[in-house]
Symmetry: C2
Subunit: 117 residues, 2 copies
């Protein structure tokens, strides 16, 4: 039975979706990963790329990403730490691409036409 053809609402599927959401959900984590997709960056660089994020949230979310083995912190010296994606983190790239494309589409279709959400 091919995975992609089996009932979309099976509980195994829901479980997988739940797992993925847990690792990645919230306002910031996807954006942090997107910011790191091309190359390792330092705290402040990431912070500058993500509009609206506070140091506090960036710090917290980076930690969660480390726990989930998506981001690896390479502390050279103190105050010189760099953050980079693990291979596993990089495996999110297709997902992020999809999200990006869909977001563009969604903006065109829905946002702006109704001024809400």
């Amino acid at each position: 039975m091919k995975e992609n053809e089996c009932p979309l609402y099976s509980s195994k599927i829901m479980l997988s979706i739940g797992d993925a959401l847990e690792a990645v959900n919230g306002k910031w984590r996807i954006k942090i990963i997107a910011a790191l997709l091309d190359e390792p960056k330092r705290f402040k660089q990431i912070s500058n790329l993500i509009d609206g994020i506070t140091d506090r949230m960036l710090s917290i979310e980076l930690k969660k990403l480390e726990i989930n083995l998506l981001v690896q912190r390479t502390s050279k010296y103190s105050s010189q730490a760099e953050y980079e994606l693990t291979d596993h983190g990089r495996s999110l790239k297709p997902l992020i691409m999809e999200l990006m494309n869909w977001g563009k589409l969604h903006r065109e279709k829905v946002i702006g036409k109704q001024e809400v959400l």
Copy 2:
């Protein structure tokens, strides 16, 4: 300039990601869409497919999905309403597939190996 080659952290990209996340974020909305991917369903059917969701949350999230034009409610009679995805909602299918596959991978790689998050 090809979209997939341009800097991943450009603010336009971040904006798209933000738009997508807004439409879809939270614990439940992706799962609700997944539950509706194959065919229209009624309130209770959806609720039964999504482990842990309460009537209250399902009601609230369905409303948000309607506002974002992802789900359409076809009220036949009262107490016989059906929910189905709009075309726009269906356009999330590749994203959900990606999420699902990645979630499976993530569970194998990370969850269970460390019992956390």
